[in-house]
């Protein structure tokens, strides 16, 4: 088996007494964009939380860069090179844009200014707002701050949970554009999305999850053209 960046094998996961993931498996290689799509409640977000060490009760194997990270805590995973953009507005609303980015690089001991500049370069609208409180920005801008913050640790793998949720169609398009740009820098991504169409459009591969189990798997473009997938999961637009 070729060495993948991230490998998940036989993952079971529980919320309390309820089992939400059953023997899930997937992998992602360096620099890939992989989508996880499926109906509501399928457990998509749970997979991301499992990767990032936010779930207590689970069983199985998760390997990152050759290391078994099933027991690792989030602060250690950030050190290994995984960062996470959770669902919803996840900026620190009372901190400025600049301070949010600085918090992204919290565990780093070196000078952050170069990397902050490159975030501003990637998301131009943010620089002029850099001393404004992040909570005052529009939804799309806040999301860009959240993504930019996640980039501060120069991650190898970026986990995104519904990055376009609640945004206008233009904003959604913009976000996915930016994600392609980020990917060009060599950052692998796992994107969980309700808006499967836009996500599949930029993905190398995708997994379909239903009721906590793997349902389908294939190349991004193929999934887009697949009639069943279109009928079941792409209706929401």
């Amino acid at each position: 088996m070729t060495k993948h960046l991230l490998t998940i094998k036989d993952l079971d996961s529980w919320y309390g007494q309820m089992q939400v993931l059953h023997e899930v498996k997937m992998h992602i290689d360096k620099g890939e964009i992989v989508s996880i799509i499926g109906p509501n409640g399928a457990g998509k977000s749970t997979i991301l939380k499992n990767i990032f060490g936010l779930i207590e009760k689970r069983k199985g194997k998760i390997f990152f860069d050759g290391k078994n990270i099933i027991k690792s805590k989030p602060e250690n995973l950030t050190k290994l090179g995984i960062t996470y953009v959770p669902q919803g507005r996840s900026v620190f609303p009372n901190l400025t844009v600049q301070e949010n980015l600085e918090m992204g690089g919290f565990i780093r001991k070196d000078d952050l200014s170069e990397d902050i500049e490159s975030v501003y370069k990637k998301f131009p609208g943010l620089k002029e707002r850099k001393d404004q409180k992040a909570g005052l920005l529009s939804g799309g801008e806040q999301q860009m701050v959240a993504i930019g913050r996640a980039l501060m640790l120069k991650p190898k793998l970026l986990l995104l949970d519904e990055p376009s949720l609640g945004l206008s169609p233009q904003m959604k398009a913009l976000i996915f554009e930016k994600l392609i740009e980020v990917n060009k820098d060599g950052v692998a991504m796992v994107i969980v999305e309700q808006n499967a169409k836009m996500s599949l459009n930029i993905s190398d591969r995708a997994y379909v999850l239903e009721l906590g189990k793997n349902k389908m798997h294939g190349k991004g473009k193929d999934m887009l053209r697949n009639k069943d997938v279109a009928k079941l999961y792409l209706g929401g637009g």
Partner: protein, 295 residues
Amino acid sequence: MGIAAQLIINGIIAGGIYALVALGYTMVYGILRFINFAHGEVFMLGAYLGWVFNILLGVNVIVAGVLAMLGCAVAGFVIDKIAYKPLRGRGMLPPLITAIGISLFLQALAILIFGAQIRTFRTGEVVRGITIPFIDAIITKIQIVIIIVSVALMVALHFYIKYTKTGKAMRAVADNYEVASIVGINPNKVISYVFIIGSALAAAGGILVGMEQNLTPTMGVSIGIKSFTAAVVGGIGNIYGAVLGGFMIGLIENIGIWFIPSGYKDAIAFAVLLFFLLFKPTGIFGVKKGEEVSV
């Protein structure tokens, strides 16, 4: 004119102390949504530690003050670690009850070690205060020290919170506990810092008050209630609110009893609290958590 100025000076002196102690309440609440009922006793502990170093051990009063602040910083850290941290995530009631328990325990400890009698910390002759030119109010040296020290500490805190990495991390954790951990901040470490700083500030207040008035094991109770009121009035969770609330309560108390019988002084703080709880419960700088900005 002279009277009004004197009352305002009295109010500022009292307010400075309330503000120092209120900061501890507000910072802890801002991050943990928890009211540290034992905070008033840290204030008392600071006063007694200062007394021990200065009067019992003969250490220079400024050094004694700094040592007392350090001692209380440690105490605050320890109390959090052994009493509050184990109960994190278990809801609101257990930590609240524990805090009350610690408060009573510390009072009893003080009575046990120091006795119930009143101690004084007077560092010199009792002299007439200095008249402030133009406004005809009298202020003593100690009171000037109180104002300077409390303001200096508040300014220092402001710079700390605004410009240092740990200060920003504190704001981040107060803003969004979960996301802070995602970003790699260790919330427990940040919380420890909050207790350390809050306790040191309360200790400073205690020493200043001890030197200006006297020391009793129960001196933390009244200050605790009024400072907590100040924190709520200013908007609990907001450190600028705590400072504003502290000075407000100090001023309203002292100016208020010009017009109503002096025996009601303590009731004034409660009246202000009631007013705010009825009409603006989030306080002056009230921060509503979870306000989402939509696209």
